[in-house]
Subunit: 300 residues, 2 copies
């Protein structure tokens, strides 16, 4: 997919995800208003909706209908947003800005931010169950998708990765295995699950699901390496947050461990490999192909 | 149910719930070990398992099989434990002891406690999906139970109640409606859901489910009032935590708002009403009857 059609694709899908989230979540005046304000503040802070878009594109790549998959794609964004709200907390990464706006706890206070994250995570599962009950996809598939998201987000997935990331801060050294663990769990697990959930709901054959899974693992890692590179090279204005934060916090990243040039090369190799996984797919997988390149070419 | 059979009932059910949780959760050495240690520390800290036992007793009261309902009962305990770990955090209730042991964040640090709570909540939904896929109950019922738990725990349920509770601390006055909102949401929503989930999975008719729902609402409120009374009158040694905390934190409670004697009377009236809801049930509901009385007679 060329750049302009991809831009339009991203914009259109983002609007669909936003619309579903807007209409699903309790309004900002629903009691207690503060929690719903805080939820909406972080959820509608200009996120790119990359994970739900990957989910939708994966469903399309195997001939699935986007509108049927949309609520489950949106649920992934709820999990992602909860993880950002909690990661930003003073006891965690202690961040002041996110996407050019004050972080949730700076805006609403720490207790509200903890609860808003809790509520976002809970809402993800309620959303899947509710839309699963009302929709046309088999209830068995819905349960397998709930299990997929729960496993990817839990103690042996995203939460485990975040814990090891925090433990590694300030360490004198770290080996590539440990950094690989952090990246594949903290960021990779949810991206992999996004692609797999789209595949499962879209009706992928087991062969295509295997290819999609590998695609998801590779772009997940490429995404995190690109993120680390942007933290070194990105423009603060475009990023909407302070750059150089990883170094300031003594975080371990690919650029720090293997150098900036090798990290860039590694990210591009991963994207090439991800594209290779899609060889057996037709033009329906063009959005997935465009998204793989976007992972390493984005400026924010 | 007399006191001695009830004691045995509680002990036996508690052992069943504990056993399921032990075998389901990753072992304390599963990577990353720290998160699984922290999860198990709070989960196996001697909780009474009241919510899962209510769920099991509700299933039995309508002729359901306990062993089929057990994983879903255990999932409720995961949600309850996450809520305790997060409620104890410095930004929330800032508690040092819980059930006679240091709170999770005092033991493992704040970031680990936040993540352990997140992982517990996530595990609740993964457990329900996994056991639902493997079991004999219809997948539709499993989804409705996931929705029930998600709604009860979320921003318009338990999390909403906790937020209003924190907002009300230190206020000069509060009206009975607001206190009622806090109690029915912070504690009541999950207790109500526990009873309802047991009823649904046990195969309750719609008439019996309505009666169980009302029973759950009434004992939920009675439980919270009894909790507030114990905070005034309880023995520190038996409670395993400091008493008088509500007053120290200027929390609003029934004893504070309407006086100790009226609060005690109110709790007993609620239990009587809850028992009345079970009039159409046979001796299979005896455990539920015993549990209603236990709510207000317990010493911890």
């Amino acid at each position: 997919m060329d750049k302009d059609p991809l831009k339009k694709y991203l914009r259109d899908r983002q609007a669909e995800v936003d619309q579903l989230l807007h209409s699903y979540l309790p309004g900002p005046k629903c009691p207690p208003p503060l929690i719903h304000e805080a939820i909406r503040y972080s959820l509608f802070a200009g996120g790119k909706r990359l994970r739900p878009i990957l989910c939708l594109a994966a469903a399309e790549s195997v001939g699935g209908r986007r509108e049927v998959v949309l609520p489950f794609a949106a649920a992934i964004e709820l999990v992602h947003t909860y993880s950002l709200v909690h990661d930003d907390l003073p006891a965690m990464d202690n961040d002041t800005y996110r996407r050019g706006k004050l972080t949730n706890h700076k805006m609403f206070g720490e207790s509200t931010a903890i609860l808003a994250g809790d509520a976002l995570l809970t809402a993800a599962f309620a959303l899947m169950a509710e839309k699963g009950l009302a929709g046309t996809i088999s209830h068995k598939k819905i349960l397998s998708v709930i299990l997929e998201l729960g496993s990817a987000a839990g103690s042996t997935g995203m939460v485990g990765g975040q814990l090891v990331d925090i433990q590694s801060e300030g360490k004198k050294s770290i080996d590539q295995d440990e950094l690989h663990y952090i990246h594949t769990h903290k960021t990779g697990a949810l991206i992999r699950a996004s692609v797999r959930i789209g595949g499962v709901l879209g009706g992928a054959s087991s062969k295509k699901l295997t290819a999609l899974t590998r695609y998801g693992e590779k772009i997940g890692l490429a995404f995190q390496i690109a993120d680390d590179i942007l933290d070194v090279e990105g423009e603060e204005k475009e990023m909407g947050k302070s750059v150089g934060q990883d170094q300031a916090k003594e975080k371990w990243t690919y650029p720090r461990l293997i150098g900036l040039e090798r990290a860039k090369k590694e990210a591009h190799v991963l994207v090439e490999e991800a594209l290779g996984e899609l060889n057996g797919f037709g033009p329906e997988a063009d959005p997935l192909r465009g998204l793989a390149l976007y992972m390493v070419e984005r400026k924010k």
